[in-house]
Symmetry: C2
Subunit: 161 residues, 2 copies
DNA sequence: TCCGATCAGTTGCAAAACGAAACCAATCGA
DNA sequence: TCGATTGGTTTCGTTTTGCAACTGATCGGA
């Protein structure tokens, strides 16, 4: 292997591909927000989870401007959340979630559950997430190792040096 | 009560306070992202959960520009995620999370857990979330009503009309 | 194999959002 | 009482976003 090989985790990049400093390098929340915390990235991930594969799939489902979509797909690919699967020479290469991308599923689910509870008027209709049997997915709530419920008041962040 | 009373759920607003259309009105994920899906809002919520109460608390912890912070605090307050608690006449009014704001805790936790797994090099140090006993909080994973694990492949979104 | 339609972007330009720094009035605290 | 701190606002330059038009490659049917 050559000296300048790619790291396991690509990190942030600006639109020219230069790597950029993290907003708050020690905080996992901040790093995740640096990677997907903009108006469109999480909706692209949502649509990929919902079956979107091609550029126009994403464009039509989200309604995002095409230049911004191209940039986001490039950035999410560089960050290792999406890949383009090979399809033979001269073939179009559909996008697919990597394992890291699929691992955002709990994030999408908690965003969805918060939205269902707090971003709709009482009688307003919205889509719902259901399991294979068509039953609604239960709320995702943090619990301690012993199963007791946790809130921001009963947890703390331990800073390791 | 007067005619133009506030609705239960304030919805989106631009910086002048005018209400704005949702990106994807039927999707709870998109509505949540419309409210907190920018570079700073979730970090403000994170810091509020971690004890930040004053303007300078937030400014120093996040490093955000002051004008942008003022805008985000206003916007999060208008969206019903933050309030300013009364403190007597001529006193400063510290910010506090509303119940809706506190309910973002599972979102912060899943973002954190994804970041811990995918946004750090193998040996790189980062902060960790612990419960009252100092034990790490277990991963938050979607499960069906019967307790079986769920992924984006084993769930679907039911669109209600 | 030709040809029109679709796909996957790129380019150019205007509008909006962001960021740094300076500024200001109100509150705090000694 | 008086200087320091707080909680912003204003100004101005930079960056990001969005729209529309354009390009070249692929697809698919005759």
């Amino acid at each position: 292997m050559a000296r300048d090989d790619h790291p396991d985790h690509p990190g942030r990049q600006d639109k020219a591909g230069r790597s950029t400093a993290w907003t708050d390098p020690a905080c996992p929340v901040a790093r995740t927000v640096d990677l997907v915390g903009d108006r469109w990235s999480l909706l692209i991930i949502r649509d990929a989870m919902d079956g979107a594969r091609s550029f126009t799939d994403f464009q039509q489902r989200t309604g995002i401007a095409r230049n911004i979509l191209a940039d986001r797909l490039r950035r999410l690919t560089a960050a290792g959340l999406l890949t383009q699967v090979e399809a033979g020479p001269g073939k179009r290469r559909p996008y697919a979630l990597t394992q890291a991308g699929k691992d955002l599923f709990p994030v999408i689910v908690t965003l969805r559950q918060w939205g269902e509870r707090h971003a709709f008027e009482p009688g307003e209709t919205h889509s719902v997430l259901v399991d294979g049997d068509g039953a609604p997915v239960p709320d995702l709530l943090p619990v301690a190792a012993d199963g007791s419920p946790l809130t921001s008041d009963t947890t703390s962040v331990r800073h390791v040096p």
